[in-house]
Amino acid sequence: MKTDIEPTSTSAGSPPQVSARSTGRAGDKIFLGLSRGSGIALLVIMAAIAGFLAYRASIAISKDEANFLTAFEWSTGSTPMRFGIAVLAYGTVVSSIIAMVIAVPIAVGIALFISHYAPRRLATPVAYVIDLLAAVPSIVYGLWGALFLVPHLTPLYTWMDKYLGWTGVLSYQGGAARSLFTVGILLAIMILPIVTSVSREVFRQVPKMHEEAALALGATRWEVVRMSVLPFGRSGIISASMLGLGRALGETMAVATVLSPSYLINVSLLDPGGGTFAQNIASHFKEANDNGRDALIASGLVLFVITLLVNGAARMIIARRKEYSGTAA
């Protein structure tokens, strides 16, 4: 992301040397070929993945004795296979939503702090620490979650149960706090860096003119942020969130380490149970037979489709917002 904001010093600095170093058209052609090739390669790879998933999934689904979309079970070891993705779809979506609800406001806050509030000597180290969080492997997050976060969440959940238990959604029956909510918290920490750093870059791009205009009208610092920075950065925040959501939807090892999976949907988010697509694949892949693998691939196809839908929705929102964002700088 840093590379995008290189100052274009070459055009201003050196004098034009067109006649002296003409390279002809060969370079153009090679470059065109290379970039076109990369574009085509990307499409071919995507199509190959989709084709493979669809083919293997169709084999599995044709052997499925239960309803693939609504069944609450996953038994692929014996010959009449019975499996369904309802629990996995629910768990994946719910844990990702929890992660987004926690992470996005915090990330926007950190990004604003770094770009507009903190003194430079504080902002830079904070930004680096956030970027470093992105470099921690997910299995390390998982181990940290299972060994540190889970035991320490139990008192919080007991407290939540006491005051919010009547909602049903936040009731807690005791036991290890290895629930979808815990997964959401862990995922929130994991997607924080990407959302923060993208938002930060966008906030840095806010035209000085906008901010100064707001200041000239007598706006306070918060009003400047509200009137010029946030509206300008809105589509950037959305795309940052979508990048984070992509990671949350597909996170595997951390979820598999922290969650206590089951093929039931609990009303309560705090009680153990549920599962996600990626976690389910990781848990079953090693010991699965051929049929079991195809079933897992079928669930992978659903995740693929969900991810495509989410990305498509994000693009639509961004396309709609673009005209209002005032990027005339």
Partner: protein
């Protein structure tokens, strides 16, 4: 994803060549020098945070790696040379590591490489002809035997029992050091039909033990595993009423919580008060978790020990034909001192038509593994040596491999 990003906001692609001087109170224009100074400090802070994370992970790592057993290389007969590839069951990984070390010390010409990929993947790779033999937690299924005929020219895949081990039931109940359960109560506990530790059924088996009125937290494996397979086979065979589910690698029981891998469930038992779960004995020993004594109907409750598991294996009946030595474990045995929740893992090879290049080396290695030395070396790792009668038959099968 990058496409999404760059199309997201046109300004991301624009450059900061805006020449407007900053007049605001927050200093916006990037100051390269200052950044460089701060970079070191930031890296140091980050390193600090990271090392904190590593310390945390180190606390939880399990200590189950194959111990430094003294290599007894006396009776190993070397044969063949080159690389010997095998893969499969992770339950026998520690045994394989020890054997590989001992065998490698004696036979420098053969390089054995056993990858603990899981039984399913191991059988798959062997069927594709990538490995000389596979390790598996359960005997070949009929359809797997059928497809092995393609790989074994003129023969088929056979099961050679090689590594046995007790599956311990570990518990964490404050104030309780000794607990006796039978198959019926175990089935009900793991099927969420018995919910508290002071349930009358548990009290009846443990006269004189003060059981707290604590919720039972039964943990099972969230991943598919041969341990689950063997444990549920035991429940189904010994208590069909309390355990109505089909045995299998994936958990079919009602309710309960789960965790990933034997290390996952054993660390849950250690952490959570009121927890109970099943895992290989070595995990209980390494984490000093107390284990359940089984009331099998014998005069005395049976402890989960290596010797008692060997005794249960000797009660097993052969179910294979010809060179196949697959065992039918006696899960409902009432023999004194036989611990019936036992796992036997197999090596799987062709009876005829093994790959010529690795046949000699494979025979020599498997012969060592099934030998007295090979088997007795396993005890300290928490595995149960095969009873002599069975080991002798296995060695017979191995020497006839072709």
């Amino acid at each position: 994803m990058p496409g999404l990003l760059s199309s997201a906001h046109p300004s991301l692609r624009t450059t900061t060549s805006r020449a407007v001087p900053t007049g605001g109170f927050w200093k916006e224009s990037p100051k390269v020098k200052l950044q460089r100074n701060n970079r070191l400090r930031a890296i140091a802070a980050g390193a600090l945070a990271l090392s904190g994370a590593f310390v945390l992970t180190a606390c939880g790592s399990d200590n189950n790696t194959g111990g430094g057993g003294a290599a007894s290389t006396g009776n190993i007969k070397c044969d063949g040379k080159g690389q010997l590839l095998a893969s499969g069951s992770s339950a026998q990984k520690n045994a394989m590591d020890l054997w590989t070390k001992n065998y490698g010390a004696a036979c420098k010409d053969v390089k054995l490489n056993y990858k603990a990929t899981g039984s399913g993947a191991g059988i798959q790779e062997w069927l594709q002809g990538k490995t000389a033999f596979a390790g598996s937690d359960s005997a070949l299924k009929p359809e797997e035997v059928a497809s092995s005929k393609k790989m074994c020219k003129g023969g088929q895949g056979i099961n050679l029992p090689m590594v046995g081990g007790p599956i311990a039931i570990g518990f964490n109940v404050p104030g309780v050091d000794k607990l006796t359960l039978d198959a019926e109560t175990l089935g009900k506990i793991f099927n969420s039909d018995i919910k508290t530790w002071d349930d009358p059924a548990i009290k009846k088996l443990n006269p004189g033990v003060k059981l707290p009125s604590l919720k039972i937290q039964a943990f099972h494996r969230s991943d598919e595993s041969g341990t689950t397979d063997n444990f549920t086979k035991y429940l189904k065979a010994a208590a069909p009423k309390a355990w109505p589910h089909e045995p299998g690698k994936a958990w079919e029981g009602k309710g309960g919580q789960s965790a990933d891998g034997s290390s996952g469930v054993s660390s849950q038992v250690k952490q959570v008060s009121g927890a109970i779960s099943y895992f290989e004995l070595s995990y209980a020993t390494a984490n000093s978790i107390k284990t359940v004594d089984l009331d099998t109907g014998a005069s005395q409750p049976v402890k989960a020990t290596v010797e008692n598991a060997s005794k249960a294996i000797s009660e097993a009946k052969p179910k294979g034909t010809g060179k196949d030595q697959a065992l039918d474990l006696a899960y409902d045995t009432k023999a004194a001192g036989a611990y019936p929740i036992t796992l036997v893992t197999y090596e799987i090879a062709c009876d005829k038509g093994n790959k010529a290049g690795t046949l000699k080396a494979a025979k020599s290695f498997l012969n060592y593994a099934a030998s007295k030395d090979g088997q007795s070396a396993l005890k300290e790792l928490g595995y149960a040596p095969l009873p002599d009668a069975i080991a002798a038959k296995v060695r017979e099968s191995i020497s006839s491999l072709s």
